[in-house]
């Protein structure tokens, strides 16, 4: 029973099944949008479908119990498989330990055998020469008048694949750790503001930073097309009253402090922007300039009407900046309209024009903690190292035996390579041929 289970878990049949299972189910999550508010799904699907999907966590399927189970099974599969492979690799890489094993020279494995009448010292010298040309330190052993030579190269390459497999465990473990103990959220700051908490994504409330983070300065550069080119927040971190760190974050260049990572995520126009709007009463000819904060209404002169600015667009459809104005008249619905710099907008008795505005940006900083990061990073490095080991290096082994027979000294050569076996054997055959012809 135990044996059967072990065989199942160390089989590549299971690996292939899991690979296809993970691939096939992953498709689902790319077709059904993940992580929307749950009410949205209730609207889209009928009650029956919704409850089935809910049971299988289809709306957050990559974190569901069954998807996690697939990944856990894959991990067990890798562990079992690696444990099974290690003895084999130890065997393959320790062939130098029993150099006098005659089984190695079984006829089926020997790539060349011949007889020579030259004296043994000359043959020894040649054998050593030939093996040294292939690997640094050949092992030479004598037993019962028989001479054994062994040389090998690139032993570590055999461990490359083990490293690749183990690296997957690291990455999966890092992912799990991040899923369980990691969190992330956002801080919105206007120049000069500071924060000691941040709001978690997915509406799970706020969390203490344990220190203060101050936004000293925010700046943004634009391309000629109006597309943002670079935005940057200058930050200072104050921990227990001491300024411990000052630095800048831009997109792709985060800052780290106490295991937290600060990424420049977004920016926008803050509510603290103030606007100057010129309002002209076209009946009386009276002109005024209103200075307004966003969403704060002010009365228009000599009337019962209030005016407010609801929103600013730095570039309204290529026309330059536009603000959304709101007229609030007693017993009437709000009148909402755009106001620009280049032209007046007429509403009733008044004509409005945007005179100027004092735009304040806010910066959106993503805060995240992921204790799985070191594992994932180690996994990446192991994986690449493993591939390099097994791709660019080959484990090659050569055995050579000289023994006395009636026909003179019999020389046998055996060769083995972990890759490109055929080419390597041909090469050794060529060398052995030169040895035989005394050309070496």
């Amino acid at each position: 029973m135990y044996k059967k289970l072990y065989n199942l878990f160390s089989s590549t049949r299971l690996t292939i099944f899991l690979f296809f299972a993970i691939a096939a189910t992953s498709i689902l999550g790319t077709l059904i949008q993940q992580g929307l508010p749950i009410e949205r799904y209730e609207q889209i699907y009928s009650q029956r479908v919704f409850s089935v999907m809910g049971f299988f966590d289809i709306f957050d399927m990559y974190h569901s119990w069954w998807f996690t189970l697939l990944l856990v099974l894959l991990s067990i599969n890798i562990i079992a498989c690696t444990l099974r492979q290690i003895p084999r690799i130890i065997r393959l890489t320790s062939s130098g330990k029993n150099p006098t094993d005659d089984e190695i020279f079984a006829a089926s494995r020997t790539i060349k055998t011949w007889h020579s009448n030259r004296d043994i010292e000359a043959l020894e010298l040649q054998a050593t020469k030939i093996l040294t040309s292939l690997a640094k330190t050949p092992v030479h052993t004598k037993k019962d008048n028989t001479e054994y030579f062994f040389a090998e190269k690139g032993k570590t390459s055999r461990w490359g694949m083990i490293l690749v497999h183990v690296s997957v465990l690291f990455i999966l473990a890092g992912g799990m750790i991040g899923m369980i103990w990691g969190y992330s959220g956002q801080i919105i700051l206007v120049e000069g503001e500071s924060a000691d908490t941040f709001s978690l994504f997915s509406g799970k409330g706020t969390k203490e930073l344990g220190f203060d983070i101050i936004c000293n300065h925010f700046s943004v550069d634009f391309y000629k097309t109006g597309m943002p080119k670079r935005y940057k927040t200058d930050l200072t971190i104050v921990d227990q009253g001491k300024e411990v760190m000052t630095g800048a974050i831009t997109v792709n260049h985060p800052l780290h402090y106490k295991g937290l990572k600060f990424c420049q995520a977004t920016y926008g126009i803050a509510d603290t922007s103030s606007f100057q709007v010129a309002a002209e009463n076209t009946v009386t000819g009276e002109k005024t300039v209103l200075t307004l904060d966003k969403m704060k209404k002010k009365p228009l002169p000599n009337s019962e009407i209030y005016f407010a600015v609801a929103k600013l667009l730095p570039d309204y459809k290529g026309r330059g900046p536009g603000v959304l104005g709101v007229l609030i008249e007693p017993d009437k619905a709000h009148d909402i309209f755009w106001i620009f710099k280049d032209k007046q907008t007429q509403r009733g008795a008044f004509a409005f024009r945007l005179k100027d505005y004092d735009k304040a940006y806010y910066t959106g900083i993503q805060v995240s903690k992921n204790p799985g990061t070191p594992f994932v990073r180690a996994g990446f490095i192991f994986m690449i190292t493993g591939f390099i080991l097994s791709l660019f290096f080959t484990h090659t082994r050569i055995w050579l035996r000289i023994r006395d027979t009636q026909k003179g000294h019999e020389i046998s050569v055996v060769a083995n390579a972990s890759k490109n076996q055929k080419a390597f054997k041909e090469k050794i055959q060529g060398l052995a041929g030169r040895f035989q012809g005394d050309e070496f």
Partner: protein, 277 residues
């Protein structure tokens, strides 16, 4: 400054010529034709590379300097460059110039579509801040190298199926043994798998810097994982189970379908964070 799109047009013709001459050398087994095709491929590659460099310099002159790997047009041009590059690098293992025919012909098709289609905008566009990253550049390069390997493997698998199903007639009879095609497919897929692994790792490193997370299961990421798993299954089946033949060539074709879906389908059919490419 020379117009890079003009150089790309020339390249398109040169690759067509190379594919044609490779085909001739394949059918008539002429060494001299092979030499001509090879010289022409290398020349095409040189012009193609010049086009990439011109475009790169040009973007700096426009004040929006970045490697030419940032929009759909640029990625298609680079994809075809990768095809020929991978072919030239792995040429020693090529049999009967099949890799040469496939690589130059696919490159020609991609470039012809890119230059002729009105849907492909060849303007140099500025880069939004998230895309200004060396990780991203490495990511794009390794992924397209991988895609190139998989494209050649896909072509070989199709030839394999042709060979197995109707081996007696005409041009197909000239194809090398099914076993040789099978081996060549496997070699291309192993190389592609390593490159795709590198591509996913560099992509994850980029995501970690730009968005503070390695992996967010957005559709593009997920589809690249699906592709990786399909080819991973291929390699394990082949190495540990010794699976060969029609079954394996179907997996190779399935894998390439996933590649195409990752590259195009996700953008045009699904939406996601990567929607710029």
């Amino acid at each position: 400054m020379i117009n890079d799109t003009f150089l790309v047009s020339i390249t398109t013709f040169v690759y067509f010529f190379s594919a044609f001459v490779f085909l001739i050398s394949y059918i008539f087994k002429k060494k001299s034709a092979e030499k001509i095709a090879l010289v022409s491929t290398v020349a095409g590659m040189a012009i193609h590379t010049a086009a990439l460099i011109c475009r790169w310099i040009h973007s700096y002159q426009m004040g929006i300097g970045h490697a030419p790997l940032s929009n759909f047009y640029e990625s298609m041009v680079f994809f075809s460059w990768s095809l020929v590059f991978i072919y030239l690098v792995t040429r020693k293992q090529d049999t009967n110039n099949l890799g040469g025919i496939l690589a130059t012909f696919f490159s020609f098709l991609i470039l012809a579509y890119t230059t002729l289609s009105p849907n492909v905008d060849c303007q140099i566009q500025p880069l939004i801040p998230a895309l200004q990253s060396n990780w991203l550049t490495s990511h794009v390069i390794t992924c397209f190298f991988a895609y190139a390997c998989f494209a050649i493997a896909f072509g070989l698998s199709i030839l394999y199926l042709l060979k197995r199903t109707k081996s007696k007639k005409g041009i197909i009879a000239l194809l090398p043994d099914a076993a040789v095609l099978d081996e060549a497919t496997y070699n291309m897929i192993s190389l592609g798998f390593v490159l795709l692994t590198l591509g996913i790792i560099t992509g994850a490193a980029w995501a970690e810097n730009a968005w503070g997370r390695y992996w967010g299961w957005d559709p593009k990421e997920t589809w690249s994982l699906i592709t990786w798993l399909i080819y991973g299954a291929f390699l394990h089946a082949r190495i540990t189970k010794g699976w060969k033949g029609i079954r394996m060539s179907l997996v190779s074709i399935l894998g390439f379908t996933a590649v195409i879906f990752t590259y195009l389908g996700v953008n045009y059919i699904l939406s996601g964070l990567h929607s710029y490419l």
